[in-house]
Symmetry: C2
Subunit: 221 residues, 2 copies
């Protein structure tokens, strides 16, 4: 029995929800507000962060560790790719989005706009918002550049790179922060990932304080 | 033939140097200043970051991807642990140091003091330095807490968790930023990692603009 502690609009939680669905694994979803630092949750994760996966007796902390855990316990379908070169490329892009994109875009837009609001932690920094809005354009162009030569971000098969990138992009899209008009190739790629059945539950999540733009759950946006 | 593009005082580069040595793999080391964005290096890594590993025809980018690549191409010795629970714990701690510790300590101290100087990018933020100096105490206490019950950070065997933590700590120790007096257990753990033969080359690195404190390369500090 799998149980995932998550936040609906957390990109790292979303990535695991996508991985679970792509691997055809059912999991009980428990929504948590980790910043409340409730004792029962701190016992699961001293870092007080989601996602956390409970797999019978195992408590698996951190989205990268959860991906590796699921890869080892449920190897099929493989979301990394068959050849060593393909797996290297998948992982390069996973790090690109989870580290670089996160630092240059997600933290600046989602972190300032949404996370601050949820944590009731002051007002967004306009400097951060401006930097995030500028940076996302370069990243969309890079997605477009990759997609023009490939069927998916890391090559000819759908991999964890697509799920990672789409998990980040999806929360920014919810906030209306993705300038789709700047890259039609990036838009085409996202429309393709968004159309996967695994994506559907994510597109149905809503939080009460912020409504997504009308195109958010439109598969032919 | 392996070639590693690295920076001597970059924690992520150091981690890979430790992994290579622990796996008894020889690699040619190429020192690079990635912030110069030289065209030949950007061709290897569009993100303009070290470490980058070249393994014959393969170009492997990002320290986590390099660890996975080396784990798959040279499985022995395994640096993750034998059981699933051990591997999960190793990876939890790898993420703890590479993500949380990096954000709360490394970026604030090493990033402000050293990286800014190397990049000739302004003066350190005193707010960041204060926050980093406060945060490292909690992390040292956590290392001590783990080590009091275990032979190594993630359990009874030396793993990638120890190498990751020690790679970060080692650059902060070079800068004289580790308040060892606050946790004797953390100091004992670090003395143990530091004594491994794999660590020796790291302790011999010097940069011209900053000298390390006298205890830096002392194994019985």
């Amino acid at each position: 029995m799998l149980r995932l502690y998550h936040q609906p609009l957390c990109p790292f939680s979303r990535k695991i929800r996508l991985v679970l669905r792509e691997k055809n694994l059912a999991a009980e979803l428990v929504e948590i507000e980790p910043w409340r630092r409730e004792a029962s949750f701190l016992e699961l994760n001293a870092a007080a962060e989601v996602p956390v996966l409970v797999d019978d007796d195992a408590v698996v902390v951190d989205s990268a560790a959860i991906c590796d855990h699921l890869h080892e316990t449920h190897p099929e379908p493989d979301l990394l790719g068959e050849t060593q070169a393909q797996r290297d490329e998948t992982r390069r892009l996973v790090a690109w989005f989870d580290v670089k994109f996160r630092r240059e875009v997600t933290d600046l837009l989602w972190g300032e706009k949404l996370l601050r609001r949820l944590k009731r932690n002051g007002t967004p920094s306009s400097e951060a918002l401006r930097a995030g809005a500028a940076n996302i354009r370069g990243h969309l162009a890079y997605i477009g550049y990759l997609y023009e030569d490939r069927r998916w971000l890391a090559g000819d098969v759908m991999t964890l790179a697509d799920l990672t990138a789409a998990a980040h992009i999806s929360v920014l899209d919810y906030l209306g922060d993705v300038p789709w008009e700047t890259s039609s190739a990036a838009r085409d790629w996202y429309a393709k990932v968004k159309s996967r059945p695994a994506f559907r539950p994510l597109l149905m999540d809503r939080i009460t304080s912020i409504k997504p733009p009308v195109h958010y759950d439109d598969l032919d946006f």
